[in-house]
């Protein structure tokens, strides 16, 4: 088998090719709000996420008719109905596959995928990892509430071991996925985590995700008030959260916690990963965060700091590196084939194709 060298395009924005609104036109949150009545349960974390996105989209300055939101099945999957853009509420787990076909055929669209922990990591796990591996130019919002909501309360692939649910009365024996670790293992070029309740953080992470060209996976910790209430309460509580959340910023040392209990992320003394020590003991060993490093080892090590007890939870961007987007490469090959042949195919070219090179004539 042979391989050929593929081009390595320069850094491009995730929105390159998507038409901007005309001069002097300003879009508002209202432009992105559809008339559909929102039907999530009272107190659902999805409301905050929707409000943040409806408020954030106008800032991008792109035409809303060039925005498409594709979802699968689940509570999160109702998302497209509430955005006044183009949208498709598809079938369980398949949104990344459908979005891949759309993105590959339309360079002028900004394609969002709205999914949940069951949709993306259980029934649709295969499509998610392949969309990440290919690096399709998609912004994937993974609403992780660690439970199946729409089917009324079964455990999900991110539920903690021992979780008692309708389908696990004796406690779940399934080991959960860490979505960030999974995405990094799937060769994702952009991986981030944020919280439904932290509008400012959510918006800043989304901005980076949209700007990234290729697949961006944003895990959003989201509360399900009905079936898994307060799953993230220890992070949302001001004091408890401050002690646990590691707010990662590119180029900054990973130091966190209240002044009384300042902590630092340092290279592990026991292995290849990282660990958390008292800042006073860290001296100058605190790891400086670097989202652009090619080697995903640091990002992976940081993702492993999180555990179901949520003693230390990194949020922000784990990884943001340049790699050609699949859909760009696919289109480039079509363009190159056309250019090599002297332009788009004519009727004569089609006739030549049909004839092949082994014809005979009968008079």
């Amino acid at each position: 088998m042979t391989t050929v060298d593929m081009p390595t395009p320069a850094h491009r924005s995730g929105l390159e090719g998507v038409p901007a609104v005309g001069d002097g036109v300003t879009q508002t949150k209202k432009d992105f709000t559809s008339g559909s009545e929102v039907r999530w349960c009272p107190g659902c974390g999805d409301y905050a996420i929707l409000a943040a996105i409806q408020g954030f989209m106008p800032e991008l300055g792109i035409r809303r008719e060039n925005v498409v939101c594709i979802s699968g099945i689940g509570c999160a999957a109702r998302f497209p109905y509430y955005l006044d853009t183009y949208g498709m509420h598809s079938i369980h787990g398949r949104a990344p596959a459908i979005a891949t076909g759309l993105a590959a055929s339309r360079p002028d669209l900004h394609v969002l995928v709205a999914t949940g922990d069951g949709d993306a990591l259980s029934i649709g796990g295969n499509h998610l990892v392949h969309a990440l591996r290919r690096n399709v130019n998609l912004t994937i919002l993974l609403f992780n509430n660690r439970i199946y909501g729409l089917t009324k309360g079964q455990y999900s692939p991110t539920s903690e071991v021992g979780k008692v649910t309708k389908s696990t009365p004796a406690g779940s024996v399934d080991a959960p996925f860490n979505p960030v670790s999974l995405a990094l293992g799937a060769e994702a070029t952009f991986v981030a985590r944020t919280l439904d309740s932290d509008r400012k953080h959510l918006t800043s992470v989304l901005r980076a995700a949209v700007e990234h060209r290729g697949a961006s996976l944003v895990e959003i910790y989201q509360n399900c008030p009905i079936f898994n209430d307060d799953a993230y309460q220890v992070l949302k509580d001001r004091e408890a959260g401050e002690a646990r959340l590691i707010r990662m910023e590119h180029g900054e040392p990973l130091v966190f916690g209240p002044e009384s209990d300042r902590r630092a992320v340092v290279p592990s003394s026991r292995g290849a990963g990282v660990e958390v020590v008292a800042a006073a003991d860290a001296a100058d060993r605190a790891v400086v965060h670097d989202v652009h490093t090619e080697d995903p080892t640091l990002a992976f090590a940081l993702s492993r700091l999180d555990d179901p007890q949520m003693a230390h939870v990194p949020i922000g961007v784990f990884r943001d590196v340049d790699r050609p987007a699949y859909d760009d490469l696919v289109r480039d090959q079509v363009t190159a084939a056309r250019e090599a042949a002297g332009g788009p195919a004519t009727d004569g070219d089609l006739a030549d194709l049909l004839a092949g090179n082994d014809t005979w004539s009968i008079a």
Partner: protein, 626 residues
């Protein structure tokens, strides 16, 4: 040089058979190309194992290629070979049973070693006992003659022996007086980067020809005159390539991009291979992570305004069901191609069958009708692919196209159509709002239908003012909003059905030469050739038989019921257990006689002819027509 007498034949069926590694498909392809160049009509039937390289010399590893060529029009690759070329004992053992008495057997005697004989259960060599006495046997040391012819090239014995198929091709080309320029050209192109192998193959090919000319073994040489063809330019084409070209032609005529999402599966993969090399025609191919993603990508592209296509075989169609059902709900164009193979489950991957008809019709949850069409010959795959795109884009619906393994790999001459004569493919997208909202502002209603076709507007992302959301939840008529209203659901179920039932399809044409037949033979798909050949034979024997063939399985042509009722008896031959028969009985309350075989093989003309005669005998009114 001896002088050979020349005998004219009107038709010949040759089967080349050997080990999977012996190059029998290549040999058959080349002989076919020579035969096409000479102007015979022809049909081919390649048959090979699912294993890429089964253990050498075993029955499991036998690969064959059958070619029927004639000075008149050919409808099938032939039931029985007149000539069997067997490169080893396994090939002989696996195929000799198909040969009629008096048939010609050409074997490579070098391969009839004790070990090779034992591998396939021969206790004595069939070349030495009298088990082949009813055939004309030519046992020729093809391997050693090839090796001798290539001595001067200094190749390893293994490399030299590898050219024995070219020696056999040369010999057969001489025997049937085939033109050789095409094969020489082909060898030069194929081995351009390996001059040693190139020269060795040419030398082996020429040595085979020269051997035929000089040997005493063949006293007679045969000629099959060119067939009468309609004037035009011809090429030989397989069903899979014709199908791929039909898709390209549809995309070209419509001016739309085409995106194929596909996962490799036998016997459909060649469509993916062919399309992946045609990027300059605006074709995008995605080799997806699985069957579901393949159809998902196609549907995503369709949402974006491209022609979305997915290709598969039966097991893959099962996996795609849920997405096809989504496309039924979304009312978006989608072309789904199922190149059928033997089932259930993995079944017979390299063998043909027509047993996915009911899966295509009904293999989805809920009431999800889709149009189903089937090509009747390798060449017809071209027009049928264009028809699939026409229906999909006109009526905004997934379309199922049922090809099969026999059509996919079989080939026949194709009179090239003029591009100007190809059907037009005009597709219009919605560009402006189609309604007014209560407050008087323009609004877009994604499920407001065209009154003629009942198709909804195809409004693609990027169109300002037409932003809308669609999905698999039931939608309200006209507005497309989510609706759980009972009456609305029933309305939508009926609308979706009416839209498919109302697809315009041409009437079923009946061939009933004397107009007095009592028996109708009705087929669909790849049984066209053997049915037509069988009906021809029955008519030659004095029977009055009518024949018709369905391309559109759903909706059926409007006159189908009338046609069926016109005949006393209806015979439906199928490579399944009676799936079309079931549909026709249910739909028209007419009794159908099935002729059903599921051997992974195309139906033979002779067996259908026998079924026709049996039916005619049962029906004295038909006897009376003689």
């Amino acid at each position: 040089m001896t002088t050979k007498s020349v005998q004219r034949l009107d038709r010949v069926v040759i089967r080349f058979a050997g080990d999977s590694g012996d190059g029998m498909q290549l040999t058959g392809d080349r002989f076919t190309a020579e035969t096409a160049a000479l102007g015979n009509d022809l049909a081919t039937f390649p048959s090979f194992p699912a294993e890429i390289r089964a253990p050498a010399g075993t029955l499991a590893g036998v690969s064959s290629f059958q070619l029927h060529f004639a000075d008149h029009d050919v409808l099938t690759p032939g039931d029985q070979p007149d000539v069997l070329v067997a490169m080893n004992p396994a090939a002989l053992r696996a195929n000799v049973g198909d040969l009629p008495r008096g048939g010609v057997v050409i074997v490579d005697s070098d391969s009839f070693s004790k070990r090779n004989l034992a591998k396939v259960g021969y206790t004595t060599s069939p070349l030495e006992d009298d088990s082949l006495s009813s055939f004309q046997v030519h046992d020729l040391p093809l391997t050693s003659m090839t090796a001798k012819a290539l001595e001067e090239f200094g190749l390893s014995r293994k490399d030299a022996e590898r050219s024995k198929n070219m020696f056999a091709l040369g010999l057969l080309s001489w025997l049937y007086d085939r033109p050789t320029e095409g094969t020489e050209r082909f060898v030069r192109a194929k081995f351009a980067s390996k001059p040693d192998i190139l020269e060795a193959n040419l030398a082996a090919f020429r040595a085979g020809w020269a051997f035929g000319e000089t040997t005493e073994a063949f006293a007679v040489r045969y000629e099959v005159a060119p067939a009468e063809h309609e004037p035009g330019t011809y090429r030989n084409v397989t069903g899979n390539v014709a199908l791929a070209y039909g898709l390209v032609a549809a995309a070209h005529r419509s001016g739309l991009g085409l995106l194929l999402g596909s996962y490799p599966i036998t016997p459909a993969s060649d469509i993916l291979h062919t399309l992946s090399g045609l990027k300059r025609f605006g074709i995008t191919t995605i080799q997806a992570e699985d069957e579901i993603a393949g159809v998902g990508a196609a549907l995503g592209a369709a949402f974006g305004g491209s022609i979305g296509v997915t290709t598969t075989s039966g097991p893959g169609l099962a996996l795609k069901s849920e997405t096809i059902s989504l496309a039924v709900s979304l009312e978006l164009p989608l072309v789904v191609i199922d190149v059928q193979r033997g089932g259930p489950s993995t079944g017979l991957p390299t063998k043909t069958e027509q047993a996915d008809l009911l899966q295509a019709m009904f293999g989805r949850n809920g009431e999800s009708p889709v149009p189903v069409i089937a090509p009747s010959s390798p060449v017809d795959c071209f027009a049928t692919a264009m028809e699939a795109v026409r229906i999909a884009t006109t009526y905004r619906t997934p379309v199922l196209l049922l090809s099969d393994g026999y059509l996919a790999n079989g080939s026949e001459p194709w009179r090239l159509p003029s591009v100007d004569d190809l059907p037009a493919m005009d597709v219009d997208f919605a560009t402006v709002p189609n309604a007014t909202s209560d407050d008087g502002t323009p609004a877009f209603r994604p499920y407001l239908r065209d009154p003629d076709t009942l198709a909804r507007p195809w409004a693609v992302p990027g169109t300002p003012g037409l932003e809308h959301r669609i999905g698999g939840l039931e939608k309200a008529d006209v507005t497309g909003e989510i609706s759980y209203d009972p009456d609305n659901h029933e309305t939508m179920v009926r609308l979706r059905a009416s839209r498919i039932d109302g697809i315009e399809v041409p009437p079923l044409e009946v061939e009933d030469p004397d107009g007095g037949a009592q028996v109708l033979v009705l087929g669909w798909g790849s049984t066209y050739g053997p049915i037509a050949a069988a009906v021809r034979t029955a008519r030659a024997a004095g029977l009055s038989v009518a024949r018709a063939h369905l391309r559109h399985l759903n909706p059926l042509p409007q006159n189908t019921g009338d046609v069926l009722r016109r005949y006393e008896r209806v015979l439906v031959p199928e490579m399944n257990s009676g799936q079309l028969a079931l549909l026709l009985r249910a739909r028209y309350l007419i009794d159908i006689t099935g002729y059903n075989r599921v051997r992974g093989m195309p139906l033979g003309a002779a067996e259908i002819d026998e079924a026709i005669r049996k039916l005619a005998q049962e029906d004295s009114t038909v006897e009376g027509q003689r």
